[in-house]
Amino acid sequence: MIIILFIRKPVASRSIVETSKSEHYRGERFPVHRNFSEAGSIGGRHSMSTSDGPLIEIRPAGLYCPAGDFYVDPIEAVPYAVISHGHADHARPGHQHYLASSLCAPILKARLGTAIDVQSLAYGEPVLRNGVRLSLHPAGHILGSAQVRIEHAGRVWVVTGDFKQHADPTCLPFEPVRCHGLIMESTFGLPVFRWPAPGQVLNQINQWWAHNRREQQPSLLFAYSLGKAQRILSGIEAIGPIYLHGAVAAVNQVYARAGIVLPAALPVGAKSEPHEFSGALIVAPPIADHSVWTRRFKKAERAYASGWMQIRGNRRRRSLDRGFVLSDHADWDGLLAAVSASQAEEVWVTHGFDSELVRYLNERGCRAKTFTLPYPGETDED
């Protein structure tokens, strides 16, 4: 087979963050406070990293920064956890201290309880911990999602968390960050995953709803309750009544408080009559499919909004009426663009088609490797 190696035209890169060179970082203006300022809480824990080694190591509890003594999105309960975003497999309960973006913090409290100890940080605002300079940068994944930038002794590593470059009115766009080492996901790391323009997909959703409405059928749309549901709600045209599953309604409140404009919607009440739903749009998490809850929507057209819907077989297996290709993760071109924009010397890839992406990057002269964390992965999110 003839092999031609080539990067597809990268997503137009926005200005690349180079905070390390700017001397007047805001960390000096903002007194670094609370947990993450208490330098050397466990003190003297010396990093194994040499001056040009990785700033991150993989531990059973998750990604760990030895120099700064904190974890990023840890799997097990730890004293200091930097959280990239509010999805369940990244933001787990039980940590003593959390650090998250100021838009993410309310999501964490809503999900994990108001009792958790969260320090919130504006995007770009640095904190120091054990001499490690840490800052969060928009990842474009969901509201408050962040890439974690870690700088120590002239070295910069970035943990992207989940990210995407495609337009999403509910969060700030992905901001490429230049680094020496990049740690990234690869949920959709195959070139068959290339997303259509989100505006086009939202139009398709609207047309589908309008069609069902004419037929007086309910439109039951499955979308992950945190992020995807709000992205859709903020982008569609409300041509009829919208009903929400409880899980979606709860997240909507958090989004509304953050200033995201969402259309008026009603909860699906326990006593709702089936006829109330005819012509309506009902947004529910995928997990509600085939549950008792969905049975009340008689003759509903069922659709799912997810990157997986790119493949016809995925839609057929769920025997859905429609599949809308809308993902909160980067597509293949997006993954390559992120690697390229970071100018990283070293790339670690996990979750998804990591071995394929790594092999591709290696063949193109990029030093990349896979790593595995014992988390089950986001099965339901996208």
Binding site: I4, P191, V192, D321, E356, Y360
Partner: protein
């Protein structure tokens, strides 16, 4: 091409029969007959000879997509459909073809086979350049075949009937046998009256449903006729305009394989169609399916093979008499007419399949105990007043098998065996149809002769469409009868059922993959 692409999208979008029917009729109403004929042809699962190998297509697509071959394979593995993988990988396009379907097929696709590889490649690349993503998917599917998106023969027939006002039965009849898609064909297909030149065409077969409950549920035994279920191949023998045609259930014309039946048909009146079973037979006994197999797959039969494997046609129904379609008459009436005809050919290899006397259900139960010794598969029960319908319908015709757990399934994966047979592909995975897609149903290892194993091995090597480690996915072509000991519902299996102790009963060389069983029929065995 665009209208057909939209039709494909509509059909693919929905699982509902009603929607599919609406999409088909909407398409047929506006399509030029030249396009409509091809649409019917492909949607019914027919396809022209494959012009380009999968591997070659994959290579061209990987080059176009500018990705390494291994990455193409990884994508294919994930997507599971070659046509779709290619469509998703090709560089995005802003073009869209306005040329009609039949031009793409007749001017491009059909010409591919005769061209050398560089020219084929040129045509494929230019086709891709002229199409958008969905058109590419459809085009690739036209090339790779496997155009199955849940359009059954019955659904297509209903759609054609609804746009033309012609009887669905007449259309189903016209769709049988061999035909070439063309405007003339399409006009004849939907015409209210039959035109000439259709005299070789068989009727759609009426198939019996398996019965697994006690016969008592059928009610009054006096309303039923019982026949032996012969272990042979289902066939229609047609005599029209003094010409004889024999069709197997796989819609294959097998006239030349059975010269003795053609000869015997001289004694039949003109304008008649018999339905029955071709059985290997000597004197007064069936010889078993293995002997009959030797007659199949041959273009012509010579005297030697005719002596070694003699056959009879056990006729049990009459569909046309004196040039008139009598399928709507009751079985009792048709049987009367059949008996009248059969006396004319008595003692020739066309015989009347005898009735099994059924004064009460107990008598049939007793007959059933005798079935194995007689070399038959069981009993067929037919309602006396039943018309001859098309396809497999519940209610009027039942098959009661001695060994009920037998199904026809398609070989889809093969893996090398161990020990004595290591190196040969001997471990197989079989699939049946569900909504136009083959779903795996069982793995089986044993049951074939050494010679058959070698033949299957050769087939596997020559028809691999994909590899997953040691496992090869093969072209869906070979049909095998599987026997097993029971069926259980299972949530662990994709098919929703698990079969117990499956083994290969025999290789059904007489069957095409389209005639393999459906998951639904199999599920009914477990009810």
């Amino acid at each position: 091409m665009q209208a057909f692409t939209d039709l494909f999208t509509e059909l693919d979008k929905t699982t509902g029969t009603h929607r599919k029917l609406a999409a088909l009729t909407a398409y047929l109403r506006q399509a030029p007959p030249a396009d409509a004929a091809w649409a019917v042809y492909f949607l019914m699962g027919r396809r022209p000879r494959r012009a380009v190998k999968s591997r070659t297509l994959a290579q061209w697509a990987a080059e176009e997509a500018e990705i390494p071959g291994w990455l193409f394979e990884a994508c294919y593995h994930n997507v599971g459909d070659l046509a779709e993988t290619i469509a998703l990988l090709l560089p995005p396009s802003t073009a869209s073809t306005q040329a009609p379907l039949h031009i793409w097929i007749e001017e491009r696709l059909l010409k591919l086979a005769a061209l050398d590889e560089p020219t084929q490649k040129e045509i494929m690349l230019s086709a891709w350049q002229h199409m958008d993503t969905t058109q590419r998917l459809v085009w690739n599917k036209l090339i790779t075949g496997g155009f199955r998106i849940g359009v059954s023969q019955r659904l297509m027939t209903r759609a054609l009937a609804s746009v033309s006002g012609t009887e669905p039965a007449l259309i189903a009849h016209r769709l049988m046998g061999e035909w070439t898609p063309s405007p003339d064909f399409y006009h004849a297909l939907i015409a209210r009256k039959d035109s000439a030149g259709a005299h070789s065409r068989p009727y759609p077969f009426f198939l019996a449903h398996p019965i697994t409950q006690p016969l008592e549920i059928l009610g009054d035994p006096q309303e039923w006729l019982a026949e032996w279920k012969w272990d042979g191949i289902r066939a229609q023998l047609i005599k029209r305009n003094a010409q004889v045609f024999i069709w197997s259930r796989g819609e294959e014309m097998v006239t030349a394989a059975f010269p003795e039946l053609t000869a015997a048909a001289h004694f039949l009146p003109d304008g008649c169609v018999l339905d029955g079973e071709i059985v290997a037979w000597r004197e007064s006994e069936p010889l078993g399916f293995g002997v009959l197999q030797r007659r199949l797959g041959r273009k012509r039969a010579d005297t030697r093979i005719m002596e070694a494997a003699p056959v009879v046609l056990m006729a049990y129904d009459l569909l046309e008499y004196a040039g008139t379609d009598i399928r709507q008459k009751s079985l009792e009436k048709r049987r009367d007419l059949l008996e009248g005809i059969a006396t004319a050919v008595a003692a020739h290899p066309i015989r009347l399949s005898p009735l099994v006397p059924a004064v009460n259900w107990e008598a049939l139960n007793a007959a059933m105990r005798d079935a194995r010794a007689r070399g038959v598969e069981g009993l067929i029960l037919k309602r006396r007043c039943s018309a001859y319908q098309a396809g497999r319908r519940r209610g009027d015709w039942w098959k009661w098998k001695v060994d009920p757990y037998r199904i026809d399934a398609v070989l889809i994966y093969a893996q090398p065996g161990h020990g004595r047979r290591s190196g040969l592909y001997t471990d197989y995975t079989f699939a049946v149809w569900q909504d136009g897609v083959l779903v795996p149903i069982a793995k089986a290892y044993s049951g074939l002769t050494d010679e058959e194993i070698r033949q299957v091995d050769r087939f596997v090597r020559a028809n691999t469409v994909e590899r997953y480690g040691p496992v090869r996915a093969v072209k869906a072509e070979l049909v095998f009868e599987l026997a097993f000991e029971g069926i259980q519902r299972s949530t662990r299996h994709k098919s929703g059922i698990a079969v117990r102790f499956p083994r290969i009963a025999r290789w059904r060389k007489d069957k095409t993959p389209q005639t393999a069983d459906t998951l639904e029929t199999i599920k009914q065995l477990s009810d």
